[in-house]
């Protein structure tokens, strides 16, 4: 036990002069408490490593002006998008800058896929964007079929489109729920999950799995539609419009929701294109780009649908865009069921396929945007390079452009309206 000399007086920090305190801290090896304006903030502020800034932007973000503060949001936070960390530089309640720190869910899927056969790759990509699993599998299936030089049978393409649209419906429904949840409303997420559970039980009847459906194969799909799937589909179809409208009625006219989303996070079409934002976010800013119309894949050139756009570019438009897309998807499902042909559901493909050397690019419209796969084959059983372009990853770049000047509480609302899924962001 150290003995403290009672004659020693430990000075109260308040009594110290500012310079004296800084001198003591520097002697102790700590960074000064109050940085000069514009000085690099360092470790004590927010847990960033105690090292010089590596890039210009890092220096801009982590240098504090007068009255500014760095606040960490995440990686664990009540907003349910997954593990993302936002380092937010605030002055009071107003955001000055945002730096998203990603990689908390990076699983190395691209590298793992280089050691897997083409069919196994289709299972590895499931947990990327885990809310739109069918789209995750659709894009590599298209790319691999191009590499191998085959086409899936028509019935398989129709089943693919059917499950893909079902996936889009529940993914958009979940976005509505998460958007309300991030603003504090707990009921819509429950409704969204009821909707999701219905659809997911239906999809588990056809694919065997509730969430990471291992359903697509190179050359078709794995299973044909069965009685349980069709009966659930019919029951669900009878109820879904009313359910969606009930859920929508909870939120759309809600005064709190409207005041928190209208004119929030307004993204112009030009900015959106430059930032690489695609999908409903881009269409809500007025740009009529839909991969299903621009580069029709599967059987989308046989289905009739219009590209929906909204004129605002704010969170409310993105929300309305997704509701409209749900209704569009239901309309598409009706057409698909009407036109479903008979036939096989999988092409005759060997167990381990060895496509000729080449490159292929397959793009689909996922609920978050343009989801594409660039695959290079070297003639062996494994792809030489398997690269996925995830839309949520690129859409996140809009956040540092949109948020400065807004309040901290709007961050989550705006981010939820972009609907990122961290599995896709971090691969």
């Amino acid at each position: 036990m150290t003995r403290i000399d009672p004659e020693t007086r430990i000075p109260d920090p308040i009594e110290l002069d500012r310079a004296e305190e800084d001198r003591l801290r520097s002697v102790a090896g700590l960074l000064p408490l109050r940085t000069e304006s514009g000085e690099y903030a360092g470790f004590e502020q927010v847990g960033i490593p105690d090292r010089p800034p590596q890039t210009d932007r890092e220096r801009d973000v982590y240098s504090l002006g007068e009255g500014e503060m760095l606040v960490n949001m995440g990686p664990q936070h009540p907003s349910t998008h997954g593990v993302m960390r936002l380092v937010v530089k605030v002055r009071g309640e107003i955001i000055v800058d945002i730096d998203p720190v990603l990689g908390y869910l990076h699983r190395g899927i691209e590298k793992l896929c280089e050691n897997a056969t083409y069919t196994t790759v289709l299972t590895y990509v499931d947990p990327m964007d885990y809310l739109s699993t069918m789209h995750n599998e659709h894009a590599p299936a298209i790319a691999f079929e191009k590499l191998y030089g085959i086409r899936a049978p028509r019935r398989a393409e129709y089943i693919r489109a059917l499950v893909v649209e079902l996936n889009r419906i529940f993914s958009h429904g979940l976005m509505m729920g998460f958007l309300a949840l991030d603003m504090g409303g707990i009921t819509p997420i429950l409704y969204a999950f009821i909707n999701r559970d219905e659809i997911v039980d239906m999809l588990s009847a056809i694919s065997g799995q509730r969430m990471l459906f291992n359903f697509f194969r190179v050359g078709g799909v794995n299973f044909d539609m069965n009685d349980e799937f069709l009966s659930r589909l019919g029951t669900w179809r009878g109820r879904v419009l009313k359910n969606i409208e009930m859920n929508e009625g909870l939120i759309t006219g809600n005064e709190i929701f409207r005041s928190r989303t209208i004119n929030m996070g307004t993204l112009s079409g030009q900015d959106a294109i430059s930032l690489g934002v695609t999908g409903p976010n881009l269409r809500a800013s007025g740009v009529p780009f839909d991969v299903r119309k621009a580069k029709p894949y599967s059987i989308y050139n046989e289905l009739e649908f219009e590209i929906i756009t909204q004129s605002g570019g704010d969170s409310y438009s993105r929300y309305l865009q997704r509701i409209a897309e749900i209704k569009q998807s239901i309309h598409l499902i009706d057409q698909i069921i009407d036109k479903m042909p008979h036939g096989p559901v999988q092409a005759q493909v060997p167990g381990i396929i060895r496509p000729k050397p080449g490159r292929a690019y397959g793009a689909v419209e996922s609920p978050r945007g343009l989801y594409s796969v660039y695959a290079i084959s070297d003639g062996g059983p494994n792809p030489y390079r398997f690269r996925m372009r995830d839309p949520s990853f690129i859409s996140l770049q809009a956040l540092p452009k949109l948020m400065p000047g807004r309040l901290v509480a709007d961050t989550m609302a705006v981010m939820a309206s972009f609907d990122p899924v961290m599995g896709g962001v971090d691969k």
Binding site: P75, Q76, H77, P78, T80, G82, V83, G103, Y104, L105, H106, R107, G108, I109, K111, L112, N115, T123, Y124, P127, Y130, L131, I189, L190, F193, I194, R196, D197, V200, R210, M211, L212, M422, G423, D426
Partner: protein, 208 residues
């Protein structure tokens, strides 16, 4: 702080001045490495602790630590169709200080391991950990990945493993039932500090 568990030493430190007065004396805990009362005195705490364990089991509050796909199934367990509110687990607390159970749902990567361990350490005792999904049990489908921790039990002690990719909500509820058994089996051992051993194994990215 090291508590000496060898036989013959008491886990409770009595200050020197207190030994003189007869009011405070040791309870002879050296015979019980896990602590707890002894003999007839055990009757009363046993009954009350049984009820206390029941109360704890039926209102385990999970921490929102959904990392990945299993988080969606955890949320699906928490919402209306598979309602985990009937077991008392509705409030998914955002703050670790208020949570009992850490349901690690989703792949744990090396970058996230540090924050997750910090969350675990911030949770006050009694706390339990449920490893949901195969990614947290053993690395799962990312077995040979360069950035996935091969099982969350490499960094924190786990009480219940729920396999599945993702486990069905019914599976997670079954895991919660097993956790209830575990909690109710404690049977009064919370009366004193229970040495659970090292709280985690040390890992290379550890900052301490």
């Amino acid at each position: 702080m090291a508590i000496d568990r060898s036989a013959g030493s008491s886990p409770i430190v009595i200050p020197d001045q207190a030994r003189e007065d007869g009011l405070l004396r040791e309870f002879g805990m050296e015979e019980h490495p896990q602590g707890g009362f002894h003999g007839l005195l055990e009757v009363i705490p046993t009954k009350a602790d049984y009820i206390l364990d029941l109360i704890r089991a039926n209102s385990l509050w999970p921490l929102l630590s959904g990392l990945s796909c299993c988080a969606i199934e955890m949320m699906s367990t928490a919402t209306s169709v598979n309602d985990i509110d009937r077991f008392g687990m509705f409030p998914f607390r955002a703050s670790p200080r208020q949570a009992d159970v850490l349901i690690v749902a989703g792949t744990l990567t090396t970058k996230m391991a540090g924050p997750l361990v910090r969350l675990w350490e911030q949770m006050p005792e009694p706390k339990w950990c449920v490893a949901m999904g195969t990614c947290t049990t053993s690395g799962g489908r990312f077995k040979r990945s360069y950035s996935v921790v091969q099982g969350v039990d490499r960094v924190m002690p786990v009480d219940v493993y729920v396999p599945g990719c993702p486990p069905r909500p019914e599976g997670l509820i079954y895991g919660m039932m097993k956790l209830h058994e575990l909690v109710k089996q404690r049977r009064g051992q919370w009366a004193t500090y229970v040495d659970r051993g090292p709280q985690r194994t040390r890992w290379e990215g550890d900052v301490r």
